[in-house]
Amino acid sequence: MISYLRRQASIYGAIAASVPKRFLAFEIWFWVGLVLGAIEMMILVFFWRAVYGQTATLGGLSLDQTLTYILLAQVFAALADQDLIWEFGYNLREGLIAHMLLRPVGFQTNYYVQALASLATRMIMQLPMALLATAAFGLRWPTDLAAWGAFLVSALLGYTALFFFHWILACLTFYTTEVWGLGVLVYGLTRFFSGGLMPLAIMPVWLRTLVLAIPFAQSLAIPLNFLSGITPVAEAPATWLFQLAWVIGLGVVSQLFFRVAVRKVTVQGG
């Protein structure tokens, strides 16, 4: 068993290690991403300052609390990023899916490990954004280690749930082989419902209920609520359990979807 785990760790470790190399292959992307991120952060800060010009609190949150949340959401935006739909679509369109299926590794595990490595890489690449948020917009980082712990566990569970959810949607591309419309729709929904643009507490009750009933918010808003002090750390175990239920449910469904969908695979271009 230990030998098996060691072998698997070696294989997937190597796959994970290849991800940052691929990210850094095009330096220009890094700089462009940084500039765009900085602009977006600036717009959101000014937007929320303008909104709070009319009121002292919104959904029970002060301007400071909201800004802290928004700045943290910008720094940790990668938690809501999933490229599975685009990747499946590209691999199907180019016929590369054949090679992906011919690797002697778990198909979903391979993608999951790459998604985690990609998340870690993006987090490191976001360090300049963290500095900008601190220096230019006065972001005060939480000092409570328990809050960080609750955030990290919740972020891992939420990111995994979102991965499985996107996996289910990505399986649709085996049937459609066209992903543009689906990709744009899911990107837009994720941006909004993940809580990257506003704290869930500010949303009307009916919308918040809807957002909590779908998995988008699990990867960003729910973990960030611990870090920004919106959710007390004491609620962490209940939150984790809820997220774990999402992970298990979506994980099982995603496996079933894939098992059926892969039988429909066509390899474009001969």
Partner: protein, 376 residues
């Protein structure tokens, strides 16, 4: 597996075509296989395919916007039978050419053999496994080159891709180093190891692709148009490499290509597929004997003759001041009769006899020579 275990070409003699149709040919093969199973204790075939079938359903839309909208509410599909009941058996260490016109079903067959596509019907066993159901185990023992797409990581240097493949296939470090050195020397990859795949030329990419495909020493290799678009020198190098792998490691190779030079150079056996059916399965020598009706003799002459008296079935196809090229139907006359006739009328300094050209023969078969032969 030793190359010595490769069966003799006679074991793959095609079915007697006589007065039989395409379907009868493939049916007779299936029946022959069913009636005569491999004797107990014989080697397990590398590939065994029985009555394999693949049907695609292609969305059918009327032209224009109205057609697109109508398709939203009443989708219609055309059934396209890409592979229609093929059966074949490939022994360990064999190199088999799998050819056919575009759309004949070659690539679809290969993708079912690799487990990428799920057959609509029939069975596939590769090294005793169902390649789709046992995807991971199968993937460890096979290698695939799809000539038009790369299995390597586009943005990584070749050596990084190979290192990653070595990890994924769990190649022991010492063995990997040994193979990397060997492949780098044979395929002249030393200069390319630090180059990202996206910066390579087509020929360089294909050499790299072969290294990536064979570095884990697969028992079965599928090469889907491995020399497409390559120049003669690169082709030669790639063919030599494949031959060497087969010779030294007993690698079973299934080769699909439109370049019959690849087939002639590498394979003893050829399978021809047309419209999803196998229409010929046998040694290249048999195909040449059966369909290589015409041969060419080229004479180097002192001076041309105004008019030549030739045996029936022989024609002049090119006449230049110092060269005379003739084609003859070997069912009507012989090379020696043609040569004797020419030498009796013209001062011949030298002559050469060309073997039947496989491309021309295969073209005849694609154009229905088998049907004609069966009808005769």
């Amino acid at each position: 597996m030793s190359i010595d275990s490769v069966p003799s070409p006679s074991q793959f003699a095609p079915p007697t075509a006589g007065a039989v149709s395409y379907n009868e040919i493939s049916r007779s093969r299936r029946e022959a296989q069913t009636a005569a199973p491999a004797p107990a204790g014989s080697l397990m075939p590398a590939i065994e395919v029985e009555n394999l079938r693949k049907v695609f359903y292609i969305s059918k839309k009327d032209p224009g916007l109205a057609g697109a909208v109508k398709a939203l509410f009443r989708p219609r599909f055309d059934e396209k039978v890409a592979v229609d009941g093929i059966s074949l058996r490939v022994e360990p260490g064999e190199m088999v050419g799998y050819i056919g016109v575009n759309g004949a079903g070659k690539s679809t067959t290969i993708k079912m053999l690799t487990g990428v596509l799920v057959p609509t019907g029939g069975t596939v066993r590769v090294l005793g496994r169902d390649p789709h159901r046992d995807r991971v185990a199968n993937a460890r023992d096979v290698g695939v080159v799809f000539g038009q797409r790369s299995q390597m990581w586009w943005d990584l240097a070749l050596v990084e891709s190979l290192n990653l493949i070595a990890k994924i296939y769990e190649i022991p470090a010492a063995r990997y180093r040994e193979l990397l050195d060997e492949f780098a020397a044979t395929l002249e990859l030393n200069e390319l190891l630090s180059v990202p795949i996206r910066n390579m030329s087509l020929g360089q990419k294909m050499r790299a692709e072969l290294a990536a495909t064979l570095i884990h020493e697969p028992k079965v290799v599928y090469l889907d148009e491995p020399t497409i678009g390559l120049d003669l020198i690169v082709k030669e190098r790639i063919r030599d490499f494949i031959k060497e792998q087969n010779r030294t490691r007993g690698t079973t190779v299934i080769l699909t290509t439109h370049d019959l030079g690849d087939i002639e150079e590498l394979c003893q056996r050829v399978i021809i597929i047309d419209a999803g059916h196998i229409i010929f399965d046998g040694p290249i020598s048999t195909i040449k004997d059966r369909f290589g009706k015409y041969r060419e003799i080229t004479f180097e002459v002192a001076a041309g003759a105004a008019r030549l008296e030739l045996p029936a079935g022989a024609d002049v196809i090119a006449a230049e001041p110092r060269t005379l090229a003739l084609r003859f139907d070997r069912t009507q006359t012989t090379a020696s009769q043609v040569a004797a006739a020419v030498m009796s009328q013209v001062d011949v300094r030298d002559f050469s006899l060309a073997e039947p050209d496989l491309s021309a023969i295969v073209k005849q078969i694609y154009n229905g020579a088998l049907q004609e032969e069966a009808a005769a």
